[in-house]
């Protein structure tokens, strides 16, 4: 029997880490993810895990220590947010290119500046092309479940890529909700032991990691990473199947909520999906065919699958909790419409930048998006595809 608890998102992530009992955790505190290494260091002090906790002096060092540990053959984890991830940036690329399956808990927060500690996805979007697998979590439960699945995905021989589990800062990380935990022994069995094929501390096979890689080779090594990222899709589905067998909780590349017969759809990630489900239910009661596509796996991007899932809708709005500041829409929007175009799906699509710097996004806001979509289905008219939700502007 699973264990019923009530935990915040940070507690959920730390609890998953405790049950995984990795060899090394190296982390530096930063709001709103501070509690994760804080709780974890308590587990270390109390002797409930065997982990070597490295209290580093910066996030750059945190990621570096994880890289060293993984290259040595250990299982390493860390947690961070916003500017912490920015400081890791150099090493983030090293981790993925050296094919080290480090697992990072990213509690999403706005990257300064101006200084802000609240949730948006600008931190995650900054590393979206760095070769990390990126899973997004609507709730504390999903943050926990994604963490339990992380190593099986990242360490799979066809993948061997680092993985980050995203959850919304404060909204998810600090809100206490009900959660179902898996028993320790079951987690241990599910996650399994990490047995890398090649590692630095293997005295029978002296190896060199991270050599100079000039014009004749880097291109091919990048293509290998891209190939691994493609492989990750099937591995994620397989691991999720096994997880469902253990817990009954079903995960795919994305969640379709009343999407199959809907006319107007929203695409979004993380906690906003919860608000959107509430609005979808309300609108359905009024006879409006609203639906939601919640992206769980953002990297690898399930382009073909998303295009197919949206092919029948009459209009779609893609919500980005980070502005790409590029005059051409947010990252999720760009990926989604490009996926649709390439797969010959031509559905009117609009983009909303929302929730920047922790701006609250209420049910009314989401409802207004569906109303806009309904108008588009009636008039066929999109004046401006690049929109804001919840931005103050002078009325004119």
């Amino acid at each position: 029997m699973s264990i019923r608890e009530r935990l915040s998102g940070n507690e959920a992530a730390a609890t998953a880490m405790k049950q995984i009992n990795p060899d090394v955790v190296a982390a530096f505190p930063i709001t709103p993810s501070t509690e994760i290494p804080q709780y974890f260091s308590t587990f270390v002090a109390n002797g409930v895990v065997d982990t070597e906790f490295v209290a580093v002096e910066s996030e750059h060092s945190a990621m570096s220590a994880c890289i060293g540990a993984e290259a040595a053959g250990a299982r390493a984890m860390t947690a961070t947010s916003a500017n912490g991830l920015s400081l890791m940036w150099e090493m983030i690329y090293i981790a993925s290119s050296l094919r080290l399956p480090i697992v990072l808990s990213l509690v999403n927060r706005a990257v300064s500046g101006p200084l802000n500690i609240h949730c948006d996805h600008s931190d995650a979007m900054g590393v979206r092309d760095s070769g990390w697998i990126m899973l997004f979590s609507e709730t504390n439960q999903e943050a926990y479940d994604n963490t339990l699945m992380a190593h099986r995905i990242a360490e799979h021989k066809d993948v061997m890529l680092p993985l980050m589990i995203c959850q919304d800062g404060f909204i998810t990380s600090h809100a206490i909700e009900n959660i179902e935990l898996v028993e320790d022994d079951k987690v241990k069995e599910f996650v399994g032991e990490y047995k890398p094929e090649h590692y630095l501390l293997n005295k029978n096979e002296p190896i060199a990691v991270g050599p100079l890689d000039l014009q004749a080779y880097l291109f091919e090594h990048k293509a290998q990473q891209a190939e691994a990222m493609k492989n990750a899709k099937q591995v994620i589905l397989d691991v999720s199947k096994d997880f469902e067998k253990m817990t009954g909780r079903k995960y795919g590349l994305f969640e379709e909520y009343k999407l199959d017969d809907c006319e107007v759809a929203i695409v979004c990630m993380n906690s906003t999906a919860g608000t959107t489900k509430f609005v979808v239910d309300n609108l359905r009661n009024q006879g409006i065919k609203a639906g939601l596509l919640k992206v769980r796996v953002f990297r690898p991007f399930p382009a073909e699958e998303i295009a197919k899932a949206l092919s029948h809708v009459k209009a779609v709005a893609i919500l980005d909790k980070a502005d790409s500041l590029n005059a051409a829409g947010g990252a999720l929007f760009e990926d989604t419409v490009s996926a649709m175009y390439v797969n010959n799906v031509h559905v009117p699509a609009i983009n909303y930048i929302y929730g920047i710097g922790g701006r609250d996004t209420k049910a009314d806001d989401i409802e207004s998006v569906y109303k806009d979509l309904l108008e588009i289905t009636q008039t066929g008219n999109i004046e401006n595809p690049y929109r804001y939700l919840g931005l103050r502007k002078e009325e004119n």
Binding site: M160, H198, A208, H221, Q224
Partner: protein, 97 residues
Amino acid sequence: MTNINNTTPMEKLTPGGDIYTSGNARDFKTGDWRSIKPIYISEKCKQCGLCFPVCPDDAIPVNSECNREDFNYDYCKGCGVCAKVCPFGAIEMKEEG
């Protein structure tokens, strides 16, 4: 594993370019990085032994009689340290060409 070149397909390269053997730095010839090269003038050389310990690339071979021989241009990067240290003008730096 180190037997790769600019025709090796991606499937034959190790992930991340990791090298799963040791002692193979000699497979990587760094001599073509050189823009100037040291010329050994053996007539002027007194075999004083000052040049070869300072070579950062171990590119001055020393034989069993403890005498230096001509440069190993596979690895000499042309830094000029040996020429600087030689008290007898037995090493001259020349433009590569």
